[in-house]
Subunit: 417 residues, 2 copies
Amino acid sequence: MVWQKQILEKLLETKEALSAINSADTRRKNDFLGLLANQLRTRKSFLLEANQQDLRRAGTEYSPAFVDRLTLTPERIEKMALACQEVASLPDPIGQVIWETTRPNGLHIQRVRVPIGVIALIYESRPDVTVEASILCLKAGNATILRGGKEAAFSNQALVELIKYSLKQSGLPETAVNLITAGGRRAVPFLLHQTAMVDLVIPRGGENLIATVVKHSRIPVIKHYKGVCHTYVDRQANLDMAVRVTFNAKVQRPGTCNATETLLVHREIAPRFLPRIAQEFRAAGVEMRGCPVTRTYIPDARPATETDWGQEYLALIIAIRVVNSLTEAIDHINRFGTRHSDAIVTDDLEAAREFLTKVDAACVYHNASTRFTDGGQFGLGAEIGISTDKIHARGPMGLEELTTYKYLIHGNGQLRT
Amino acid sequence: MVWQKQILEKLLETKEALSAINSADTRRKNDFLGLLANQLRTRKSFLLEANQQDLRRAGTEYSPAFVDRLTLTPERIEKMALACQEVASLPDPIGQVIWETTRPNGLHIQRVRVPIGVIALIYESRPDVTVEASILCLKAGNATILRGGKEAAFSNQALVELIKYSLKQSGLPETAVNLITAGGRRAVPFLLHQTAMVDLVIPRGGENLIATVVKHSRIPVIKHYKGVCHTYVDRQANLDMAVRVTFNAKVQRPGTCNATETLLVHREIAPRFLPRIAQEFRAAGVEMRGCPVTRTYIPDARPATETDWGQEYLALIIAIRVVNSLTEAIDHINRFGTRHSDAIVTDDLEAAREFLTKVDAACVYHNASTRFTDGGQFGLGAEIGISTDKIHARGPMGLEELTTYKYLIHGNGQLRT
């Protein structure tokens, strides 16, 4: 029972830090962010060494993509430092009055933004999540529990050491960010039962991780699930624009969750559009997997199977399907999509309106690339991820989405009658 | 496997109604509400007869409080009809633009309020929840799955018949509200696994019901948990106001979740305050259970035991504890409260500020009765209940809290670079 005790002690410690973090003033939180940026820069070699330990241990057991996500480089560390500075520059959401009213009986009611409390991040091999999550949670007045993948244990430990040092130097409790390493595979289910200690769980990772968290959690969860994004080229699309937007959505950075995975094309425009986009895709080395109708226009496309619809390739692969109508496109997306980001290319405003209304996704685009789903691109600042849930936060989840609210009611002796 | 099939068919039916309900215009939704108000009034005897069947079946097996919650009366039915009219008069939240921006690249981004989708209500014996939940969900563009207690089966069936009739008459799919009766005790865990069919679960009821739902659900849950509300009389309280506010918070309607259950009193004001409030409580027949210090001022108070702190009596009983400081009061509330509603009575503005900041509850009051926690009293309109969760909705949960949002992004061919 040693690991349970270790976890509970960490949770208790974190919860005890809450009151100081909840009410920390903006200057102090920004001091922390500045100090951490500085630490990341001056202790780069310490971080790279820790990361080397993880990489050596990983050896050749893992896929290149996995190893890439695990790897820290001087550039990636500099990116973390820049993220600290960016978060420092964002307005502090805590204490904002969202709404207020004075009732006929004189009661003054304010709805005020407050921190959520203790937020647990459960993630895989990316050590940069350790910093991103901690700094966003902290700026929003929350304490953070981190449970990263064991493959990144040395890197995470080193990063948390810098975070704790910076917290202490800025006069904040260093227990406001805690890494949980005990317990092995049993730790996550155990953690997910501690409803008295943790207010929100954010899982970031693959399908299995999310499924495990949803299965075990008694604590509210906001899922950052995969992005199976669609681009639909309508019969009234501008051909040049359709080619440019589709190509960008697939090719510009295929490893991201907002990259398009499936292309839907209206049958009336397919004969003119498909050969043109196929030419671009071929030149960029994109593997095409098409429905039978698609393959009449793109003979070198491989046949798509049922598992291609709804597949998140995160690679230079695209599934292509010709549809008979706008309705068929919408139905396909609502069936196979993950409610992340979907786009229509069309000059028909009525079709665009219908698509944007009926597609059930966090972000729906008219004549633009799905790649724009990003807190920075939306002007919302840094984000902890893209929520594919509908409850509390949808789409890019930034500082505001890491808060809740409470009602403050001031009276002078009002009684209910 | 018959009951599973029955439940899945109902869920599928409900999901298929979504697109019509999601995009229904305000007039049509209000037509439905008007028709239902009319139905409730003209078919009162039909409802009372169905309710009689439930009451006969309940017999003498249940507590008077249970039977009271189960009972329909002409007045209660009229209250439901009035609720329909009230919800019709509320502004339609759907389609509201919450935020918008045009980015330097010309992308126009709107954050727009949309329905959540299919909402499942899981509740106990109160048939009025059937109507309240359905009309609020529907006005916010959602479809509703109802799973009421089996004790109210006839009443719920009759009410849902009127709801379906009114939906049909107003040109909306009658499957937008569905009652699930199959499956017995296994139905709720089964329902709570249907993540593809249900977007949100709202349990309303006792501790066991909530615990069951939280344990089994793979779907996001917003808990409407019990209200263990506190009133704290600070050392600098106005004595007359403290007596009036405390008395109102306990006695005005003790069976509600926003009634005060525990009274905390600063030791410096205890000698003057406790004898006065005890006199009022005695006259009103309130049973007092006090800590040892309390009993030195109220000799007839029964000794409070550890289980009295955090107890929701829903009756004319109050737990009383004398505390040494504001901090002790705050710590007591954060330990034993249910994050619902808590009040401080004081003329010390600094103490009030500290209390309102540090007490972790949906509604925190300064110099007013906890009884005001209510959508109507806050000017928010009708509510589906009081959320004791922090995620998505906190405190009175009205129409806006039954919605989510999506981002609509209009471009003219923007590409990410």
